[in-house]
């Protein structure tokens, strides 16, 4: 059966080739991946692409990426045909052999790769590339059924990771889960994950801990979504009390991003809820704070103005405005003021019992 993506690559190239033979300007169009070109599909729960496209052709401003896109598509074709994969970094280095068309920075290479994904509506693995980002750590009452390098089944028990954790692989589609946990707790910082893991919080609360380690990678988002969908588990998110935590981490996990708008659909968790640290928490729990910096304030104001997710949820607007008024932010680890295990003994149990204090 001919690979769908190979056909897409071939057809796109053929289109360019024919246009040139007919002495017409060849073009490559891809969707614009930005917040300005998404709509928040509330029912489905994620950011959807609108129609705006960008075109690359034989002009001084776009010819370079035009050539680079074609050459990367050719690389994809080779990877798929040979059943091989290349990391994003490797793809960047391959380009160093392309003479004038080589990428100067990896960010340029990543961007062209994302464009090709968007052109064909596929995930990067389908065009032969994998991320080199860190997947995310998992601990708790969960059994994962994976395969080893020879394709033989492997059974991983996440309760038996000792003081460590299970690391989410790059590709999660093939995983199968077994669990008796009641919910998934997604945590921003490694430090907080460490404390909860060391003191067996997942045992006490009967949950699965996932450390996102900052902005969650695609694999991490897909993992949480898959696990939550298949085992019908609610997802609660616990981040620092600042705009980065709310927007870059939580919002991306929940509805996706402008940059990944072309693949958001399966890579977000619309069911997720934000349990803390909320601006109200900062006041109620009298947490030690830091003043908001210029960059924080700008982030908050931008979110109020431009983010379709915020624009839809009044509670988030209230929360952001409140924090801008308060002019301070607080980290999740600030709870240690009231005792190292205050978070385990008091904060989390109280919050989990009280949905009224959550944000959508």
């Amino acid at each position: 059966m001919p690979n769908k993506v190979l056909m897409q690559i071939r057809n796109t190239a053929l289109d360019v080739y024919n246009k040139i033979k007919k002495k017409k300007q060849p073009t490559l169009t891809t969707p614009i991946r930005a917040l300005s070109n998404v709509t928040y599909n509330v029912k489905a729960g994620f950011f959807e692409l609108n129609g705006k496209m960008k075109t690359r052709t034989l002009t001084a401003s776009t010819v370079k990426s035009f050539a680079q896109t074609l050459r990367m598509m050719a690389l994809s074709k080779e990877l798929i045909k040979n059943n091989d994969i290349a990391t994003k970094r490797e793809a960047y280095y391959v380009s160093k052999n392309w003479g004038d068309a080589r990428f100067n920075e990896q960010s340029d290479s990543d961007s062209v790769m994302d464009d090709i994904e968007a052109m064909f509506g596929v995930n990067r693995e389908q065009i032969g590339f994998i991320a080199d980002e860190h997947g995310g750590d998992v601990a708790g009452k969960l059994i994962v059924h994976d395969k080893n390098e020879k394709g033989k089944p492997v059974r991983i028990d996440c309760t038996k990771m000792g003081s460590g954790a299970y690391s989410i692989p790059t590709s999660v589609e093939h995983l199968k889960f077994e669990t008796s946990a009641k919910f998934i707790l997604a945590i921003e910082t490694k430090g907080m994950f460490e404390r909860l893991n060391r003191h067996g919080f997942w045992k006490k609360a009967n949950c699965i801990l996932v450390s996102m380690g900052g902005v969650p990678s695609r694999a991490c988002r897909r993992f949480i979504r898959k696990l939550s969908d298949e085992k019908k588990l609610p997802v609660y998110v616990f981040c620092d009390g600042d705009f980065y935590g709310y927007m870059n981490i939580y919002r991306t996990l929940k509805v996706g991003s402008g940059n990944a708008a072309h693949i958001n659909e399966y890579f977000c968790v619309p069911k997720a809820k934000f349990i803390g640290i909320t601006p109200k928490d900062i006041e109620e729990y009298k947490l030690p704070t830091h003043p908001l910096k210029e960059v924080d304030i700008k982030r908050g104001k931008d979110a109020l103005k431009n983010d379709p997710f915020v624009l839809h949820h009044k509670e988030w607007q209230k929360a952001i405005k409140k924090q801008l008024q308060m002019k301070v932010r607080a980290e999740q680890q600030a709870l240690a003021k009231w005792g190292l295990n205050f978070v385990i003994d008091k904060y989390l149990p109280e919050k989990l019992k009280n949905p009224k204090t959550w944000l959508p």
Partner: protein
């Protein structure tokens, strides 16, 4: 009674003749140093020759010889085919300062004050003790007349040392021969450069020049057409000062003030004359000789308040855009030329006209300041560039929009030659040596307008050149990636070699077609057929030689 100190001093005071004055103040006339002295002598003689020919409507053939006599002495010989000078006038013209036909009239001509040639004679006599030798013939039917002359400086009168008839095979003309102390260099402010620029700005003249190295250089004329005859005009009331008005009132033959104004001035009719008189509360019927000093002052004020039409301007003969450009073409091998002749304008009642020529690019150096050529009444100005109104106007014009670099208060920098010519019935110089033009605001303003007009023409060219350059840059940038587009397609579609090459060619063709045909803005040095390389070299190459010698 013993004389008072004042009486003692009075005994020592005596009248100083104008000749004695200039004897001690040579720098005022252009004889400050030996190099300049040689140039000034040649210049004065050539100016007179050209003026004479043009007045007589004879197409000029001038011969200039500079012979090295040793010990810094040179013999300067200037011979023309002009109308010649009447025998009786010769001594006064050559050996009496401030004698001439030109001071009392307003007419565009090279010589203005009647000092020039006599000053040269005086300088020659001062430095070598020798007399000036003049030969002149006014008609083929009459013999030529030969004089040897000196100046009696205490009385400002000619001393005739020889006076005889001679045979001369020319039908008419004048030949001036002077021995003087001087210094000859080929480059820069030199006789060679002066003659070359004179030839450029006077395309109807042929000059044959024999330099001190006995090399003969001919500057052939570029046109047989004589320039338009200039005409004399009466002074315009706006330009008259109290002193001149009083003098005119005293000397006029007209019997009423009204008639005086109508006849002695330009642009004054009976009505205007009456208006002036009424405004000044002086009766128009009064005799001009009876007008008092106070009345004259009132008349001056009245004139300024009365509306009088501008003076006639057809008395000026400009070079014209075509010939100005042609002259530049001979001298500079450039990519682009343009010339502008403005309409005549007026300063202090005197009509004047400004012309500008620009030669851009080509052989000229990119990072040097512009070469500025200045001319007044078809005479090159080689000295006092910094003090000249032309220089000031160029420096105060903003050349950056026209494609040149420029620091504040300096000449523009770039491959450009700017030629500026001012023609007037009376050119205002900063000193008697006629080296730089005085800073009248009306003149500076006109020059700037002319420069800007020419600059705008230049701008069209430099903008076009820059656009083409940028377009070429863009194209070569895009071209860089065309092979990669072809490689991408080749790898995806498994194209054969010829198919890939085909694609590359198609892409190149498409690039050219889509972006339009580019004009070739390159400089072809052989394209300018008017360029005379030998001519251009005159006055330049020796700078290198002198540098090597040093």
């Amino acid at each position: 009674m013993a004389p008072t100190i004042a009486e003692e001093m009075a005994r020592k005071q005596r009248e100083i003749s104008i000749a004695e004055f200039f004897e001690k103040n040579r720098h005022l006339l252009g004889f400050d140093n030996k190099r300049k002295a040689l140039l000034t002598a040649v210049k004065e003689a050539v100016d007179n020759a050209l003026d004479a020919c043009e007045e007589a409507n004879i197409i000029p053939d001038i011969i200039v010889e500079v012979i090295e006599m040793g010990s810094d002495r040179y013999r300067v010989i200037v011979e023309d085919n002009g109308p010649g000078i009447v025998k009786n006038q010769i001594p006064k013209i050559f050996a009496k300062l401030l004698y001439g036909s030109k001071f009392h009239r307003l007419k565009q001509s090279r010589g203005q004050q009647g000092i020039g040639i006599s000053a040269s004679v005086m300088y020659s006599q001062l430095t070598t003790g020798r007399a000036a030798r003049i030969l002149s013939k006014i008609s083929p039917n009459k013999p030529a007349h030969y004089y040897e002359l000196k100046i009696d400086t205490s009385k400002n009168k000619p001393l005739i040392l020889k006076d005889e008839e001679r045979e001369w095979d020319k039908p008419h003309g004048t030949r001036v021969e002077l021995d003087l102390e001087g210094s000859y260099i080929k480059a820069g402010q030199s006789v060679d450069n002066y003659l070359k620029q004179t030839a450029i700005i006077n395309p109807h003249v042929t000059i044959t020049y024999v330099n001190p190295k006995a090399e003969q250089i001919i500057f052939p004329r570029a046109t047989e057409e004589m320039p338009r005859q200039t005409s004399e005009i009466k002074p315009h009331p706006y330009g008259v000062e109290l002193g001149l008005l009083l003098k005119m009132l005293r000397n006029t033959p007209f019997r009423t003030l009204q008639a005086f104004f109508v006849n002695e001035f330009s642009r004054v009719g009976a009505g205007t004359a009456k208006l002036i008189c009424e405004q000044a509360l002086v009766p128009p019927s009064i005799s001009p000789h009876k007008v008092t000093r106070e009345d004259a002052e009132k008349l001056i004020n009245a004139i300024q308040k009365t509306k009088i039409i501008s003076p006639p301007t057809d008395c000026i003969s400009p070079i014209g855009e075509e010939l100005l450009e042609k002259g530049l073409r001979k001298e500079v091998n450039a990519e682009y030329y343009c010339a502008v002749t403005r309409n005549p304008s007026v300063y202090r009642g005197n009509p004047f006209q400004v012309e500008v020529g620009i030669a851009y690019g080509g052989d000229q150096s990119q990072n040097e300041p512009a070469t500025l050529l200045r001319f007044a009444n078809r005479v090159p100005l080689l000295y006092q560039q910094g003090g000249c109104a032309i220089y000031k106007s160029v420096v105060q014009t903003n050349w950056k929009p026209y494609g040149l670099n420029q620091s504040n208060g300096a000449l523009p920098i770039g491959p450009v030659t700017i030629a500026v010519h001012i023609a007037s019935v009376w050119v205002p110089f900063t000193s008697e040596s006629k080296e730089a033009i005085a800073h009248y605001p009306e003149i500076i303003s006109e020059i700037k307008l002319a420069l800007q007009e020419a600059g705008r023409k230049l701008q069209k060219y430099t903008l076009k050149k820059r656009r083409v350059k940028e377009e070429l840059k863009k194209r070569s940038y895009i071209e860089k990636y065309i092979p990669h587009v072809a490689i991408g397609l080749k790898e995806i579609l498994d194209l054969k070699k010829y198919e890939t090459e085909n694609i590359e060619n198609e892409l190149r063709k498409m690039l050219e077609k889509h972006r339009g045909k580019l004009e070739d803005m390159g400089f072809d040095p052989s394209k300018n057929i008017d360029f005379d390389e030998e001519l251009a070299r005159i006055g330049k190459e020796e700078e290198k030689e002198t540098q090597e010698e040093q």
